[in-house]
C-alpha cells in the first residue's frame, strides 16, 4: 500500500512546476485571455518538448509510454499554472478517444503528431439550445451536417471528433473530421474564461470518417469522460491549491485595523475551510488516479468522486480567494479572476456538477447493491 506518488513522479512534478513557473506566467495567460490567439504556442511547444503531450501515448505511437499517474502529475501543474493550451481537448479527450476507439491506422496517423504537439484535436459534442441552435448533427453518405457549440479549441484545432447520428440510427457514432475541409465554418464564441478559447462549428457536408463502431459513441465517450474527469480533477486541484496559496499570502501581507487580516478568525476560518475542501479533493483525485492507472473496476465511481470534489474545491477556493483580497480581488489587474474564470469553466466543460453527482450515486449504488 502506498497512497502517494513515487519519487520519480514527484521529480517530474517539480520539473514541470519549474518550467511552468518560468514559461507560463499569468502574463502569458492574460495574453490569450485578452487576445485572439487560440492558445499560447510557445508554452505548448515547451510542454510538447518535455514529452507531456505524449506521456500516456504508447511508445509505438510516438509517445513516452509512461502511465496515467505521470499524466495526472502534469495535469495538476498545468491546472496550477492556468496553462492556456489545448491540453484537455487534445490530450485528455482527442488522444484518449483515439487510443480507446481508433483503428491502428488512425492511431498511427494521428497519435505521433499529438505526442509531438504538432496536431491539435478536440471533441465536438455539445449542441447548444441557445439562439444558434440547429438540427442535430448527422452523417449521411460520409458527409457531416449540423452545428456544435461550444467546442473547446474549436477555432485552432486541426481535427475534431464529432458525435453525430449516421443515417437514421437511434444511437450516435463518433466521426473524425478534418477541420480544414470544405464545409466547415468556425465562429469564435466567448466563454466564462477566454484564456481557453471555444468556437461554434457549423458543418455543411464536411467529409467524416467513422471512429470506432457505428452507434457506439455513447459507450466510448462514457469511458473517455471518466478518464478525462480524473485528469481535469487534477487540474482543478492544482488551481485550487494555487488560489488558496494566493489568498493565504495576501492575508499575511494585507494589514487592516493595525494587523494582518490573516489574524482575524473570519479570514483564518475561511482559509481553513478552503484547505479542507482541497484536502478532500486531493484525496479523492489520488484514489481516482490509482484507479485510472490500474484500470480498476473502481474507476467509474472514483472518477466521479474526484470530479465532484475537485469542482467543489476549485470553485470554493477561487471564489473565496477573491473575497480575501477584497476590492482589488475583482479588478482586472489582479490575478484572482483568472482562477475564478477557470474554475467556473472547468465546472461545466465535461458536464455539470449535478450530472456528475447523479453519476456518482448511480455508480456507488451499482457497486454496493443491497
Amino acid at each position: 500500500m502506498n497512497f502517494d506518488f513515487s519519487d520519480e513522479q514527484r521529480e517530474l512534478q517539480r520539473s514541470a512546476r519549474g518550467v511552468l513557473e518560468k514559461e507560463c506566467t499569468t502574463a502569458k495567460v492574460r495574453r490569450v485571455l485578452e487576445g485572439d490567439d487560440g492558445f499560447d504556442r510557445e508554452i505548448w511547444s515547451t510542454i510538447a518538448e518535455m514529452g507531456f503531450c505524449g506521456a500516456a501515448i504508447p511508445e509505438e505511437f510516438g509517445g513516452l509510454g509512461l502511465g496515467y499517474l505521470e499524466l495526472c502529475v502534469i495535469a495538476e501543474e498545468l491546472g496550477r499554472a492556468l496553462a492556456p493550451v489545448p491540453f484537455d481537448s487534445t490530450v485528455c479527450l482527442f488522444a484518449e478517444l483515439l487510443k480507446l476507439a481508433g483503428s491502428d491506422a488512425q492511431k498511427a496517423l494521428y497519435l505521433p503528431r499529438v505526442a509531438e504537439g504538432k496536431l491539435i484535436g478536440t471533441l465536438a459534442q455539445a449542441e447548444t439550445r441557445g439562439a444558434a441552435a440547429g438540427a442535430r448533427a448527422a452523417v449521411s453518405g460520409g458527409k457531416l451536417s449540423g452545428t456544435k457549440c461550444p467546442v473547446m479549441d474549436g477555432g485552432s484545432a486541426d481535427i475534431a471528433i464529432v458525435v453525430a447520428f449516421e443515417e437514421q440510427d437511434a444511437a450516435p457514432t463518433l466521426f473524425l473530421v478534418d477541420l480544414s475541409s470544405e464545409g466547415v465554418e468556425r465562429t469564435a464564441v466567448e466563454t466564462l474564461d477566454p484564456s481557453r478559447k471555444h468556437a461554434l462549428l457549423r458543418f455543411g457536408g464536411a467529409p467524416a470518417e467513422r471512429l470506432g463502431a457505428r452507434g457506439e459513441a455513447v459507450d466510448i465517450l462514457g469511458h473517455v469522460y471518466d478518464r478525462a474527469a480524473v485528469l481535469v480533477a487534477f487540474q482543478q486541484v492544482g488551481g485550487a491549491e494555487r488560489a488558496l496559496e494566493l489568498a493565504r499570502d495576501y492575508a499575511l501581507q494585507r494589514v487592516a485595523f493595525g494587523r494582518p487580516i490573516g489574524s482575524f478568525q473570519a479570514i483564518k476560518h475561511m482559509l481553513a475551510d478552503m484547505f479542507v475542501s482541497l484536502t478532500i479533493a486531493r484525496a479523492n483525485t489520488y484514489y481516482a488516479a490509482w484507479a485510472l492507472q490500474s484500470d480498476s473496476a473502481e474507476l467509474p465511481a472514483a472518477a466521479a468522486a474526484a470530479r465532484v470534489s475537485a469542482t467543489t474545491a476549485f470553485q470554493h477556493c477561487s471564489t473565496n480567494n477573491i473575497q480575501v483580497h477584497g476590492g482589488i480581488g475583482f479588478t482586472w489587474e489582479f490575478d484572482s479572476h483568472l482562477f475564478y474564470r477557470r474554475s467556473n469553466l472547468l465546472a461545466l466543460s465535461l458536464g455539470s456538477q449535478s450530472q456528475w453527482e447523479a453519476k456518482l450515486v448511480d455508480r456507488m449504488r451499482t457497486r454496493k447493491a443491497v
Binding site: Q125, A126, T128, R129, G130, A131, A132, C149, P150, V189, E190, T191, L192, D193, H198, L200, V255, A256, F257, G258, R259, F264, A266, I267, Q315, T319, I322, Q323, G326, G327, I328, G329, F330, T331, W332, E333, S336, H337, Y340, N344, L345, A347, L348, S349, G351, S352, Q353, S354, Q355
Partner: protein, 415 residues
Amino acid sequence: MDFEDSPEEAAFRKEARDWIKANAPHDLRPWLERSPYTAVELPPGMDEVAAQKDWQRRKYDAGWACIAWPEAFGGRDASPAERLIWEQEEGLFRKLSTLFLINLGISGPTILTCGTDAQKEALLAPCVSGRHVWCQLFSEPASGSDLAGLRTKAERTGDGWTVNGQKIWTSFAHEADWGLLLARTDPKLAKHAGLTMFVLKMDSPGIEVRPIKTIHGHSEFNEVFFTDVFIPDDQRLGPVNGGWRVALTTLMNERLLAGATVDTGFDELLDFCQRFETENGRAIDDPRVKSQLAQWAVRASGLRYAALRAISLESKGEVPGPEHSIGKLVAGSMLQDIAKFALDLQAEAGLLVDADVALYAGRFQVMLMHSPATRILGGTDEILRNIIAERVLGLPGDIRVDKDIPFDEIASARA
C-alpha cells in the same frame, strides 16, 4: 398589520402612478429590463448621462426627485410608507437614477445634516435636480474595510487646504462635478480623531481620474489621484478633525435610504426554471431544483418583508436596525450561488457568455461575474457580520491594536 394601502396611501399611489404614466420615458423600458445589475444600457447612440440627467430633472420639477427630503430643499417630507410606494411605482425607472445614487444617498443627506446654511443653499438644489453629479472619495488602496485608516492628507495652506493622496472605488468620478472627500488633517491624533470632511470641485487642478477595469470588464469605478489640490476652507463640512462623525452620518444615511428592493437573483432564477427544459422535463419539476428554489425563495421574500418592516418601525419613530446589512449579506452570496446553480442547469452551454449563443441571454453568466463584487463593496460579508454582532447583538468589538495610538505610529508599523 396590513400589507395593503390605506385610503390615503392609495391616493398617493395613484398620484405617483399617474405622474409616471404621463412622464416616464416608456420607450426605454425594454432596455432597462435587459440592463444587468449596476449597469444601465440604453439604445445605441443615446447619451446615458444626458438621459439620466433628463429623468432626474423631470422628477425634480414635479417634486419627485427626493420625496423624503424637506420641502425647502426640493422634497415633500414624505413618510416612510410614501417613500416605499414611490419606489414601487417608479419601478424599473429607478435604474435611470443610478448616476445619482451618491447625490441622493450620500452627499445630499450629509450636506443636509452637517452643512452650513450657505453650503445647503449653494449645493443642495443642483444635487437633487441632477445638475451636478457627485462622487464619494472615502476608500483608499490601503484602507477598505478599515476606512478610518485612510492616508490622503489635507494640510492647512492660507485660507484653505492642500490635498495629496489617492482614493479608489470612486463611482462616477468621470462624470462628477463635485466630490465628498474624507481626508486626514492631523496624523498625530488617533486614527479616527484626525479626519476632516470636505466637498470639492472635481475640475480642481491636480485631480486625475483613472478608470478601474474590473473582472467583468466594464465598470463605473475609478481611482482618483490628488496632487496639491486646493480646497477653500468654506468647503469644509463640519469641524476640523470632526470628519469621522460626519462620515458616520453619511454611512447611516446610506443605510436609511437603501430601498426595500434588494436584488438576490431569485426572481430571474424562478422564471428561468419555469421555462427551461432539461433532459427530464421542466427544471422546476426536478425535486432537487424545487428544494433549492424554496430555500432561496424564503430568503428573497424574507428580505423583502424585513425591509418593509423596517419602514413600519421608522414610521413609528424607531431607528431602523441593520436590515440593510442583512439584505446585502444574504443577497451577495445568493447571487453567486444562484448564478452557479443556473449555469449548472445549463450544463456545457452554461459556459457561453455571448448573448447570441448563451441561454437566457447570458444573464446568469453576467450575474456570476458581478457577484464577487457584491460580497465586497459597501462592506464585506465579514464586516457586515461584525456590524450585526456588535450593533444588534451587543457583542464586544474586535480587539483593536491600533486604538488610541497616534496614526503616524500605526502607519510606520505598517510600512
